[in-house]
């Protein structure tokens, strides 16, 4: 896994490894916080930690110290697989408004769905 670094005209692209580099010994973890019971865990950011238990503790200190949450998940950033930004990935959906359920009348008797 690597980060894309912006490349100025005439510059060679540089690849910076996100983990396993000598400059930073601890791997990166993504942090998900559940704000209150009944809600989903939501991605809030990332932290460095040597292992899962420490990652949870660091996430607690970094992201819940103002009572933002009641539960924390952490997952190694390297375990997350992301989609690419190819035009074919998401743009085909932009002109298909009929996939929203807005083209039929809901009878009044149905009430709030």
């Amino acid at each position: 896994m690597s980060y894309d670094v912006p490349v100025a005209p005439g510059e060679e692209p540089v690849e910076i490894p996100s983990e396993g580099s000598k400059s930073h010994g601890w791997p990166l973890w993504e942090v998900f916080v559940r704000a209150k019971r009944g809600l989903n865990h939501t991605h809030v950011g990332s932290i460095h930690a040597p292992d899962a238990e420490t990652a949870i503790q660091n996430a607690r200190d970094g992201y819940t110290r103002r009572a933002e949450g009641v539960s924390v998940w952490v997952v190694r950033s390297s375990e997350i697989h992301a989609s690419d930004d190819a035009a074919s990935m998401f743009e085909p959906f932009e002109d298909k408004p009929y996939r929203h359920p807005t083209f039929y009348e809901i009878p009044d008797e149905v009430g709030q769905l």
Partner: protein, 255 residues
């Protein structure tokens, strides 16, 4: 020296507990921006702020009980070194990361059973502070324990340094769990436990963590005392100078 005690046993005891927490908070605050990782900076700052918050509650309550108009700031900023009654352990310097974590483990393992007992104090105000302190100290102990296990069971270097910190700080541990006349009087009126009441739980907590960390108790039989009567190591004076210089230089300054 008037300032070493308040006019009641309970007030004097509250100041003692407050001093432990204030001095440790200042030590932890010193380390901010010095930790090996940003995440540790944040965690150590959080821990320090927990201790500071508890100290503020304790000093405020001590001032109310005294009824002499002393505020939390008067207790923290305007007492000389000989008036501070914190345990010697908490004033020991941030020699390295291992010293910081061992100091924290020793103190957390003492605070948890102490706060648990104080939650049942006949002083409902103190019991309320203790209930808050117990939650915080329980997490502090979890964190310091897990660090000691990682350091002890980590590399040869981390194990060596952590054992050195245990050996270096061991002589300040008996003071934590030794009671004195003040505590005897408070215990007989149900206001506070004797520190010696938590000694066996303290030791069993420490032993369990050190065993998992593959480290050993300090072997030095020498134990030193004095903090509770205002006789400190050479490290407290400079700490107080940094803590208090603003109020000393500009008395009554506020912002």
């Amino acid at each position: 020296m008037k300032t070493i005690t308040t006019n009641t046993d309970l007030g004097t005891y509250l100041v003692r507990l407050g001093d432990d927490n204030l001095i440790l908070a200042q030590r932890l605050g010193e380390y901010i921006a010095g930790a090996p990782e940003l995440e540790e900076d944040l965690a150590i700052a959080n821990t320090g702020l927990d201790h500071l918050g508890i100290a503020r509650h304790l000093f405020t309550l001590a001032g109310e009980i005294e009824g002499d108009g002393r505020s939390e700031d008067d207790f923290a900023m305007l007492r000389p070194e000989r008036s501070f009654t914190n345990a010697l352990l908490v004033e020991q310097p941030n020699t390295d990361f291992a010293y910081i974590m061992v100091r924290q483990l020793f103190f957390d393992a003492y605070q948890v059973p102490l706060w648990r007992r104080l939650s049942a104090s006949n002083s409902t105000d103190l019991a309320g502070i203790a209930a808050k302190g117990l939650k915080e100290a329980t997490y502090h102990l979890r964190r310091s324990s897990s660090w000691i296990v990682r350091l002890g069971d980590g590399t040869a270097e981390s194990a060596m340094r952590t054992q050195a910190a245990i050996d270096g700080l061991w002589r300040y541990t008996a003071e934590l769990v030794t009671s004195d006349d003040l505590e005897e009087r408070l215990a007989s009126s149900g206001l506070a436990p004797r520190s010696s009441d938590v000694a066996s739980e303290w030791l069993s907590t420490i032993d369990a963590v050190l065993e998992e960390a593959m480290l050993a108790r300090g072997s030095d039989p020498f134990q030193t005392f004095g903090g509770r009567s205002g006789i400190h190591t050479e490290y407290l004076g400079p700490l107080l100078a940094e803590l208090q210089w603003m109020q000393r230089s500009y008395p009554g300054a506020t912002w």
